[in-house]
């Protein structure tokens, strides 16, 4: 018997990564009561059909789904085999040829379409999620990087403005295996936050109670994300620079939005009119410099600007997310994004202007807006992986609950 398979730790990691269908059981503590609601549907990369979370092939067009872990090109990880169940890895090599997502031609062995010549797109390089009509995001490799080390995981109620979780993690690009780390972290955190929903469906919303409960939940989500990284990366955890990632999360619960952050991925409130704001605070060299009085522009254009001072991962000194509860007013967007986007448009009002322009062109479907933001960042050079996830807030009025 393969010794790797007998190791329950690695088997657990395999389950968590091979099944990209965001099965909440990857959160090792099973929370069956919310599975149905929190499960993230899988969008077919070829035709956009929403498939069941555990679907292996698209119901509509037959495209193979769920190959998110097969793109790691880390040469010295040595645990690629451990990252996939043995039967999975054999079946993927002998799997029927995938269709080209652009023209439907078949993909040749060299990895390019036989008809249009476009490269076969792995789901890990570019995918979108749309758990509900008002929540959606796009995660993209960008232009300059060969691996997409960004990741996102989204969950939402169908009812607009009711409940959603958006998590974006950005793998530290100097460290091999960070693509696995970021995906595992984002999914574990989303699953844990989504599972927190059931606690909150209670009579008499108490603002303070909800805030503190979600704040605690956010801290736990950070811990779950960190634990998931350990499970996903296996022996890489022992490296000098173990795989690691940032963390930016937003929980939308009624009018309350609770954000959490570690590192320099961000959550913004993008108001339709009025003041937009960055809700998270970066753990970065540039943020520290700004705290000491350097201008934003100067700090963010410095060579060390992207050095982060906190992260999730085996060698992290402090993984607890900074948690901020807030009540956005008026209509607008919650935007969770990686620096691949905000590096081209950091200021909240500038970013709002960009979002408004995009909405003016493509409408207010969150996936389409996210996709356009990613395209825009690629047009600016696509120097980094790019993730943009949006939740739409139509005008909500928060009336503070009276203490019971």
């Amino acid at each position: 018997m393969d010794p790797l398979v007998s190791d329950p730790r690695i088997e657990a990691a395999a389950e968590g990564t091979v099944e990209p269908a965001a099965d909440p059981t990857l959160d090792t503590v099973s929370e069956p009561a919310v599975e149905a609601e929190a499960a993230v549907p899988v969008l077919c990369p070829a035709c956009g059909t929403v498939n069941d979370p555990d679907a292996k092939f698209c119901e509509e067009c037959g495209t193979q789904l769920g190959e998110l872990v097969e793109v790691s090109s880390d040469p010295d990880s040595g645990d690629d085999e451990a990252g996939a169940e043995p039967n999975e890895s054999t079946s993927s090599t002998s799997a029927p040829r995938r269709a080209c997502v652009y023209c439907g031609g078949s993909i040749a062995e060299d990895g390019y379409c036989e008809l249009c010549g476009k490269p076969a797109q792995s789901e890990r390089d570019h995918w979108q999620e749309a758990p509900a009509a008002w929540v959606g995001g796009v995660c993209d490799r960008g232009i300059r990087h060969d691996i997409n080390e960004d990741a996102m995981a989204l969950a939402a109620d169908p009812q607009a403005g009711e409940f959603a979780v958006l998590v974006v993690c950005d793998g530290v690009s100097s460290t091999p295996g960070s693509d696995k780390a970021s995906l595992a972290a984002a999914r574990a955190a989303t699953a844990h936050l989504a599972a927190g929903r059931q606690i909150d469906v209670t009579e008499g919303n108490d603002d303070e109670l909800a805030q503190s409960r979600w704040s605690d939940r956010m801290l736990e989500a950070g811990e779950r994300a960190s634990a998931a990284i350990y499970e996903a990366i296996g022996e890489l955890a022992a490296r000098t620079n173990p795989p690691s990632c940032t963390f930016a999360a937003a929980v939308i619960d009624g009018p309350l939005v609770v954000v959490g952050g570690v590192g320099d991925s961000r959550v913004y409130w993008i108001a339709d009119s009025g003041k937009s704001r960055q809700l998270t605070t970066d753990d970065s060299w540039s943020q520290e410099m700004m705290a000491h009085g350097m201008s934003r522009q100067q700090a963010e254009s410095a060579p060390q600007a992207h050095s982060i001072t906190r992260w999730l991962g085996a060698d992290s000194p402090d993984e607890a997310p900074h948690v901020v509860p807030t009540y956005p007013t008026g209509a607008g967007w919650i935007l969770v994004c990686s620096d691949g986007l905000w590096n081209y448009c950091s200021d909240a009002d500038d970013l709002a202007e960009l979002v408004h322009r995009v909405v003016g062109m493509v409408g207010s479907n969150p996936v389409q807006v996210s996709s356009s933001l990613v395209d825009w960042a690629n047009e600016q050079g696509g120097q980094d992986n790019i993730t943009a996830a949006l939740a739409r807030f139509d005008s909500v009025v928060h009336t503070p609950a009276q203490p019971a």
Binding site: D110, C113, C116, G117, P119, I143, D375, N378
Partner: protein, 426 residues
Amino acid sequence: MAEFTASVFQNEFLSDGATDVHAIVTVTVAGAGQAGQGQGMAAGEIIIVDTSGSMTGENLGAAKHAASVAIDQILDGTWFAVISGTDTAARAFPYPNARLPMVQMEPGARAAAKQAIASFQPSGGTAMGTWLTLARELFQATPQATQRHAILLTDGKNEHESAQALSQAIYNATGVFQCDARGVGSRWQVDELRQIATALLGTVDLIAKPADMAADFESIIKQSMGRGVAAAELRVWAPQGSEVLFVRQVAPTVEDLTTRKTMVNPLTGSYPTGSWGDESRDYHVAVRVASKPVGSEQLAARVQLTVRDEVVASGLVKARWSNDDALTARIDPAVAHYTGQTELASAIQDGLAAKAAGDAATATVKLGRAVQLAAATGNDEATAKLRKVVEIDDANEGTVRLRRDVAKLDEMALDTASTKTTRVRK
């Protein structure tokens, strides 16, 4: 077992809106083995010697010697024949009364063939089309010989048949056998032999002195016998909606393959490359694709070598659109080098043609450009040959004056060598 490799040299980055993708693909064969040694394979070799009246004297003596030396180099088991060419073609060996069109080489046949060669008598005129036609008929009557090569030697113009008849004979022979053409002396026409060699996937060269003929024949036959890979094809796939602008061999010589394309499927063209020994050839492929948004990537061409429809080497030519000038502005050194070498070849040929037509002004401009390109691409052989035809005032500027009283042989040497390229300096 032969080993094939393909390497691609290109700058895959295109600026926004750009459509043309250029790449140099180097195809290398190692361990080719010997001609006709593969399973179910046999080689065929025909030696065609001009025995017209003009060959009388030193030329025919040297040609007889060279043909005998060539016979020595033909491997046992190779199907072979010898043709003596005048204004008609005659099979000198196997003897005209022999039943077989060609025979397999063995010691007895080798001795007999040399005797036949020794009895060549000069007479009559020159009609090379008839020689090629006889060679084709002999090869076609010998289907066992699957890898076919001929060597053709002449000293004169194709005076005794029309240019059209020669073209027709060349056309009929295309794809049946490969042919290297050699001219001795200064009375033959470079363009006539180039026409033959180009269509029949061979080389053309000048043998200035009859004494050099034997060594040249020896090396040609040795090379032919060392080509263990028969009838390879270069295949170029380009994506739907794209256009293959050209496919050129650029090393060791410049040969435009573009018009030799036959379609394998709607997106893939096939270009014959003949047989291969242990060697390396460079191809310049240019494809025009629709421009894509910045950040997009696509495959612009798959360049493959195939042997009997099996892909033995494959290179990928890519296109990636970027708005980073630092990436897109750089021209790949190999592409730049061979673009210059190709222009050099046509500048020399155009310059000599203008000179022959009495257009000194055009000749000076073209040969001046050739001098400039030869200097820029480090083609010292071309520079040396150009120097015999023009006075170089400034090689970098390309300012030259036409020399008076240029030896015809020097002009022919420049012409025949014009397509020989130097490898890119790495």
